[in-house]
Every structure is written in C-alpha cells, then in structure tokens.
C-alpha cells in the first residue's frame, strides 16, 4: 500500500534529516488534508458565531445619527458615569483587597488555612443564586441587612434600591464578593511560586514585614497585578449579570451600566441599533486596554 511506502519513506527521511522535518516533509498530501480537516470545525464555529456577530454588530451600529442620539440622551451620560464607577471602584478595590488577602492566606495558622476553602465559595457558586440572594438581602426592611440593623442596633435601615448611590454601592459590593476569591487565589498561587530563598535573602538584608512587601513581593508580582487588573477591567466592562440582578437598574434605570442599558434599548424600547451603538461606544476604551494587555503579557515571561 502506498501509505506504507509513504511512512517508510518518511522514516528514512527522519533518519537522514533533522528530526523536526519528519512531520513537515509529508505535509503535502493526506497529512495536510487531515490538518485542515482538524482545524475546519473550530474555524466554522469562529466565523459563524464570533466573526459574523461582530460584523453584524458593527453594521447595526454604523449610523452616526445613533451616536448623536446617545450623546444627547442624559440616560446614556449617566450610564457611562455608572459604568466608570462600577468598573473603576469594583475592579481596583477588588484587586487591592485580593493582593492583601493573598498575603494573609500565606500565614501558617490552622484557622487561616481553614478559612481559604470557605472563602472560595463565592467563586464556586453560580452568579445567579448569589446575586438573587444579594438582591433579597437588600430589598428593604424585610431584607436580612435591614433586619440585622434593626435587631442589633435598633435603627431603621435605608431602602437600598431607592437611592442611586446606595444601589450602585450594592452592585459594587456584590461584584467584589463574587469575584475577589478568584483573584486572591491567583495572587496566592503566584506568591507560593516565589522561591523561599528570596524571602530568606531579603530577611538577611533586613527586609521583613511591610518592607518585604514593598521591596520583594510588589516588584515580583507587579506585572502580574497589572495583567490581572487589565483582564478584569476588560471582563467587568461587559458585566451584565451583576447589575441586572442586584439593583436591576433601579431606581429608574439610574444605576444601569452599558451592558444592561444596551439590553433595555434593544428589548424594552425596541431600538436594537441604538442598543448596539451604546455598547459599541465602549470600544475606544476596550481596544487600548487590549493593546496594553498584550504588551504586558509579552514582558510577563521575563518577570519570574
């Protein structure tokens, strides 16, 4: 059979030539066909369900008049501010706390070790039940938070979703609760990867406690911290679930973020193009983040 001969030829080739070329030599015939056949399924998915929707979105949002409408709308301006607050505060507070907590979890006490698996629960839990529960804790005087306030301190708690600031704060707190464990674990893994000799050498030179943090841990984890913050920013700008379930945009759409506003425009106000334009207006922020992220990822290899 020809395939046997082919393989034999390839074997002889492999003996004579440098090793790498064994695969490359015979890629012309059936090998290449197989390789292409292996890539085709994913390529089809990619074009049908990623490229096509992106192109469709850009096409839907192509009309400049849409952006004029958006800029003229006070709701849109408020939503941009909400998104900036939600992402800016949510991501940065979460990342900073995660970095601090990852150091805390390095301590060798049994109660600290026992806390870590409990602390990871929000990450293991699906987002919907968690946010439904947050919504319910803050629903008003029937909620657990106000119930606790009145039971412990005898004060009447606020109506959390009747005030824009409180509702926005609730969204941010729920968001931090859900996603902080994941990043804490990431930083924790990075800290355990720092060789112990480095700490010892630093201790000999007098760097312990907070000095160790600023002079040893921060320089080593700095780039990872930047990468994680950018990644998290990217994901959080597109966050729909938190706001749509915790505050539901209340009061009166004043705590909406871009993802939920686009949804309202498209499905409640029957203006799908305006909805797509609203979310696509985040691209001038998204694309620079992606570019910085790529640069930071390239230098990552050098770091540790």
């Amino acid at each position: 059979m020809s395939s046997v001969r082919q393989v034999l030829a390839a074997g002889l080739d492999a003996l004579n030539r440098p090793r790498r070329s064994a695969w490359r030599r015979n890629r012309h015939g059936s090998e290449l066909a197989w390789a292409i056949a292996f890539v085709v399924p994913y390529a089809a998915v990619f074009f049908a369900f990623v490229v096509y929707p992106v192109a469709y979105a850009l096409w839907m949002a192509r009309d400049p008049a849409l952006y004029r409408d958006l800029i003229a709308s006070p709701l849109y301006a408020q939503t941009v501010i909400n998104t900036a607050l939600f992402v800016g505060l949510g991501v940065n507070v979460k990342m900073f706390l995660a970095l601090m907590l990852s150091g805390f979890f390095m301590r060798r006490r049994w109660w600290v070790k026992a806390t870590l698996p409990v602390f990871m629960l929000p990450w293991a839990l699906p987002a919907i039940p968690a946010f439904v529960s947050f919504h319910w804790m803050l629903i008003g005087e029937e909620g657990l938070v106000d119930g606790l306030l009145s039971a412990l301190f005898g004060i009447q708690g606020p109506l959390w979703f009747n005030d824009r600031g409180l509702a926005l704060g609730s969204n941010i707190v729920a968001y931090i609760w859900k996603w902080m464990p994941f990043w804490t674990l990431t930083f924790y893994a990075a800290r355990t990867a720092i060789p112990h000799e480095i700490y010892e050498a630093a201790a000999v030179d007098g760097a312990t406690g907070s000095r160790r943090f600023t002079h040893v841990v921060l320089p080593l984890l700095g780039n990872l911290y930047l990468v994680c913050t950018l990644l998290s920013t990217l994901w959080t700008i597109g966050d729909f679930t938190t706001v749509s379930l915790v505050s539901e945009g209340a009061p009166a759409y004043s705590t909406d973020v871009l993802a939920t506003l686009g949804f309202h425009y498209a499905f409640d106000a029957a203006q799908p193009s305006l909805g797509v334009a609203a979310v696509m207006s985040a691209l001038p922020v998204l694309i620079p983040i992606v570019i910085i992220l790529m640069c930071a990822l390239q230098t990552r290899e050098v770091q540790l």
């Binding site: 064994a22 369900f49 979105a57 109660w111 990450w123 839990l125 919907i128 998204l286």
Partner: protein, 301 residues
C-alpha cells in the same frame, strides 16, 4: 561572686522580659489573624445564610424581619423536587436542559479545542499561530456586547428558543481558552512521541485518538470542568435565547421569580440552592486539579 550573681539575675530578667514581649506580640498577631478570619467567614457566608434562611421559611411567612428561621421547614425543598408549585411545574425539565447544554458545550469545546490544537501544535501547520491568536481575539469584545446581534442572527438561522443556539454561543466562547490551555500543556509532551508513532505507520487520526488524547488527559479534565461550569453558570445568553418555560434553563427560571411581586420566595431560594449545589460539589471535589488548570493556563505569573 555577688556581682556575677547579680549579672545573671539581670540577664534572666531581661531575657524573660524580651520573651514575654515576644509572646505578647505573637499573641496579638494570632488574635489579629483570628479576627480577620472571622470577618472573612462572616462576609463570605452572609448571602448564603440569607438563601438558607429564606428557603427554610414556611410559605407565606417570608416578609418578617427576623434573622433566623423561627419555624424551620424543608417544605420548600420538597416542593421544588416534586414540582409542587405552578412556578416550578417544569423544574426537572429545566434542570435537564441545563445539564444537556452543559454536557454538549463541554463535549464540543473539548473536541474542537483538541482537534485545533493537535493540528497547530503537533502537526505544525503553517500559520497555525495565526489561528490561536485569532481565536483569542474572541475575548476582546465582551460576550454581553454581542448579545443583540446574536439574538438577531439566531432568529435568522431559525434557532430561536432552541438549546443549540445557546450551545453554539457558549462553544464559541469556551473553545479559545481550551485551545490556549491545550497548546501550553501540549508543549510538555515531546513531539518525538508523535513521530515514532508515525514511523510505525499511524495516521493522524490514530495519533490523535491513541496518543494525543490519552497524554492530554489532565488538561482535558481541567478544561472540561471549566466548560461545564461555564455553561451551567451562564445566564445572559440563556435568558435571551430560551424563552419558553419548557426550553429554558434553571438560571433563567430563577430570574423569572424576580419579575413578579407574588412569587413564592422560599421556593425560589430552595431552587437556587439545588441549582448551586452541583457546581459547588464539583469545585470542592476537583479543587486541586482546577487550581492546577488555572496555572496550566499560564496565569501563574
């Protein structure tokens, strides 16, 4: 003589003072970590406690401001499992839908991911890196931003209210990560393994099935768990694309409770707990391996 004794006495007193201050400092530090641990546990468990609290209320007694269940009752859990409320008449159907979508997404993400990374990483097709990078570009635009065009497209394809529309979307979002992890992991398997199999007459599909897949097993487990949880936990696309009561999944049904003022909240929270239990169980069963999968993806810094 006496001076030596006095010196010794002084030295022991000084050392015991140093000792006790050291002990005090350690005591304070332990106390600090203990307090922080307690704060973390309370902060983490508060929303979960709230879920359990409401789910244990007997029906009609939810809107009372107490902070522990006065008459705990598991009636709501029983109600969910027997579909005993009209809000829950399709519960098991919806549970099966969630499971079906999860398993299909896992299967196809693993299949397409391994096929692609095999062709790029092992067969070394030219410009393979381009495929990997293009795939990762999927994550530039958040999935939620593509929801509206996706909805339109699915209507054009005639896939509205069909679980396959959700499966397609989730496979498209899960596979780039799968390819990335498989590529990284595949580097640890020497290419000579494939070459010797080829010399023995194995065709590419045989190498893929008999050699590549078994060697990739740890990465398959990690990515498979990731894809399963991604699909099980996903909300927006399921909410958007599945609207009828018999085709929707559990998270969509859960969110439906919120849209009415008359919903049975104890049933809602019982449903939430039952829905959340499998991923939590999977997480704690595979905790070590999932963390390993995380670092496999190169997040380790």
């Amino acid at each position: 003589m006496s001076t030596i004794a006095a010196d010794a006495r002084l030295a022991t007193r000084a050392s015991s003072r140093a000792h006790s201050s050291e002990r005090l400092r350690r005591y304070l530090r332990n106390l600090g970590t203990l307090v922080l641990s307690t704060v973390i546990v309370v902060w983490t468990l508060a929303p979960l406690y709230n879920m359990v609290l409401i789910s244990l209320e007997p029906e009609g007694d939810v809107f009372t401001d107490h902070i522990w269940p006065r008459v705990p009752s598991v009636e709501s859990f029983w109600g969910v499992l027997t579909q005993g409320h009209w809000y829950l008449e399709h519960f098991w159907r919806q549970f099966a839908n969630s499971l079906y979508i999860g398993l299909m997404v896992t299967f196809f993400a693993l299949l397409f991911g391994t096929l692609t990374s095999f062709a790029i990483g092992r067969m070394r097709i030219r410009h393979g890196w381009l495929v990997t990078n293009a795939a990762l570009l999927t994550y530039v635009i958040p999935a939620s931003f593509l929801a509206i065009p996706f909805y339109r497209i699915m209507q054009n394809y005639g896939l509205a209210n069909n679980p396959w529309s959700v499966i397609a979307a989730l496979v498209a979002f899960a596979t780039p990560y799968a390819i990335f992890v498989f590529q990284e992991y595949g580097r640890s398997i020497p290419i000579e393994v494939d070459e010797s199999a080829r010399i023995d007459g194995a065709s590419p599909p045989q190498i893929y099935l008999r050699i590549y897949l078994p060697l990739m097993a740890p990465a398959l487990v990690a990515v498979g768990t990731y894809a399963l949880l991604l699909a099980w936990n996903e909300y927006l696309y399921q909410f958007l694309l599945l609207s009828s009561k018999s085709s929707m999944t559990v998270p969509v049904a859960l969110a439906q409770f919120l849209s009415s003022d008359q919903s049975p909240w104890n049933y809602m929270m019982a449903t939430a707990i039952i829905y959340a239990a499998p991923p939590v169980a999977i997480y704690y069963a595979f905790r070590r391996r999932m963390t390993a999968g995380l670092t496999m993806g190169g997040v380790k810094g």
